[in-house]
Symmetry: C2
Subunit: 342 residues, 2 copies
DNA sequence: CTGAAAGCGCTAACAA
DNA sequence: TTGTTAGCGCTTTCAG
């Protein structure tokens, strides 16, 4: 245990120089003589000196830290976005403070406020359940970029997302092309992203002349949510031949529900997910999905953030990335007997 | 954007009181008159005042923050341990700073040092690849509890883990009881946890009189690692009837490899994992596994940490939790034709 | 109950 | 090149 960690003062005394010289030397300034530098570095090493970030942040008035709020650490999708964020943040020489709100608006807000108290210089929010008012208020204090949504705007809010409506359409079109007509949508609940995906579903069904077949079942963006929604879907008469789940995790749940009924995927029911988490590529799962460029989205977000940290009055931007349908083993044409025009 | 955020000074001026009174009021001290308190709170609200954590930490000489290093955010297992940590940390009124090292020793060390610079009052390390020397040096500066390993010890290092050797034995015994003899182990590579699980496997095989059948194939604790290890296993002559994977993620990969060969799980090959991640409970996966009480381990770790923060000279403890075999759908008796004494 | 003053560890002018 | 002097925003004695 540390009794009184050594401070810059102790190092200065030991090296026989002044505090400010130590400060410069520790940060590798060129205006320190070789002799002093090595003296200082040696003293620091012997003492086990470690600069105090709080003190530095206070004096410097910069924390060299960005805050990241992520919706849910249980969904590996967010880890993939985070990879992109982290590597970019690191190359800028910044640290990241990572927090989760567990999809709870109050918790999310509390965590964000805490980040602000730590004087983060910028904020990246990877999906959230926050009211726009909160987000806008927070953006007044600190540059903010939101990943996966762009419904909340403001002068210092940048956004990075894919077009969920268009992505959902891809999913439906894929199923329609395979010959499916009774395609249900397992919704992700009452949040922006899920609403968009549902709208895309409805739109594509209409375009395909299947408006009458449209059926949205309420679920959630989790495996459990997909499981229970799929159970309900399987009770429908006639039984749907395909399901479009609001995200990959819920698609996994849906597949489980199908199999629990003694049915096969894609033999009896085709399932499409959304997000493109790398787990879905496993043959065990082999999930057909609408894939977002997750890591790239994270990196883009971080780049936007630093750009704004450097140029506070730049206009805010809304970035769009493209999602793509990745056909895998969870979709196939419907059985002939299920086919209306079989 | 914030030009000059309001400080405690501004609030004091606006409320017509002194700085120190504001400080007390903000932290809900009872020695502030009702009148002053409401004046101060109102002023703070109007100004949008937010205390500066760096300044507080400096003056207070406590950060009210604990640091958490986690091996890998892609493995949902760690999110489950984290749940336990976070909720416990929150009830203690602390914040947590979360970082990852991505199983890279150098990165892990760098992240830990950064945490120390931020003056965290304690450290929880959820799995790691660090040399003992580093860990011990760090523990000198700050209370430390390591989750999933207890091979590195020190006067202020607490540990929380399950017995991986015993857990691995459970897995093998389960397979043996089902009638398997050609049981291979897909190892997780060259790290403490994987070594223990391998040792448990070898031990149990010996005990079962199957020492001659023992076969360890090198992989990694990831889905990809399990996939490639399983591929090699499937090339063996005669083909193994069961695989014990070093963890759940690699078990998922192994199942994929089996299925890619046109074989079935558990029909042709049984697969057992390790960890007990909740994803494995899904019927889609239905993974037989050796389950650790993940959330509980996280909570225990956090409680140990706060206990030591309060009692710095307490003796270090090594906590053991029990793992349990959870039989699910990925294991079954071998086919009769595969059965040596069919 | 309230206010003044000192100082946490560091950086940043400014002098020397 | 180096040392001195002010703070950064907050908490904390210690007097009133």
């Amino acid at each position: 245990m540390s009794e009184a960690r050594p401070t810059i003062h102790d190092v200065a005394a030991r090296a026989g120089v002044s505090k400010s010289l130590v400060s410069l030397a520790m940060r590798g300034s060129p205006k320190v003589s070789e002799r002093s530098r090595s003296l200082i570095l040696a003293a620091a090493a012997e003492l086990g000196y470690r600069p105090n970030a709080a003190a530095r942040s206070l004096a410097d008035r910069r924390s060299h830290t960005v805050g990241v709020l992520v919706l849910d650490l249980h969904n590996p999708v967010f880890a993939e976005i985070l990879d992109g964020v982290q590597s970019e943040v690191r190359t800028h020489g910044y640290s990241t403070m990572l927090v989760t709100g567990g999809a709870d608006p109050d918790l999310e807000q509390a965590e964000l406020e805490k980040l602000l108290e730590f004087q983060v210089e910028g904020l990246i929010v990877i999906a959230h359940r926050l009211p726009g008012s909160v987000l806008r208020r927070i953006a007044k204090e600190c540059p903010l970029v939101v990943v996966t949504r762009d419904d909340v705007t403001g002068p210092s809010i940048d956004t990075v997302r894919n077009d969920d409506v268009a992505g959902a359409r891809l999913a439906v079109e894929h199923l329609v092309a395979l010959g499916h007509r009774r395609i249900v949508h397992l919704s992700g609940g009452d949040n922006r992203v899920s609403q968009d995906r549902r709208d895309g579903y409805l739109e594509a069904m209409r375009t395909a002349g299947l408006a009458g077949q449209s059926c949205v079942i309420d679920g959630a963006l989790t495996d459990a949510g997909g499981y229970s929604a799929a159970q309900q879907a399987l009770d429908l008469e006639p039984r749907p031949t395909a399901m479009f789940a609001a995200n990959d995790m819920s698609a996994l749940g849906a597949i489980a529900a199908v199999q629990d009924r003694g049915l096969g995927v894609p033999g009896d029911v085709s399932v499409v997910g959304y997000d493109g988490m790398s787990l879905g590529a496993l043959r065990t799962l082999s999930l057909t999905t609408v894939a977002q460029p997750l890591g790239e989205m994270g990196a883009l977000a971080a780049r936007r953030l630093f750009d704004r940290i450097d140029h506070p009055r730049r206009r805010s931007v809304r970035l769009r990335v493209d999602a793509a349908l990745v056909p895998r083993g969870s979709t196939a044409p419907p059985r002939r007997s299920d086919h209306p025009r079989g």
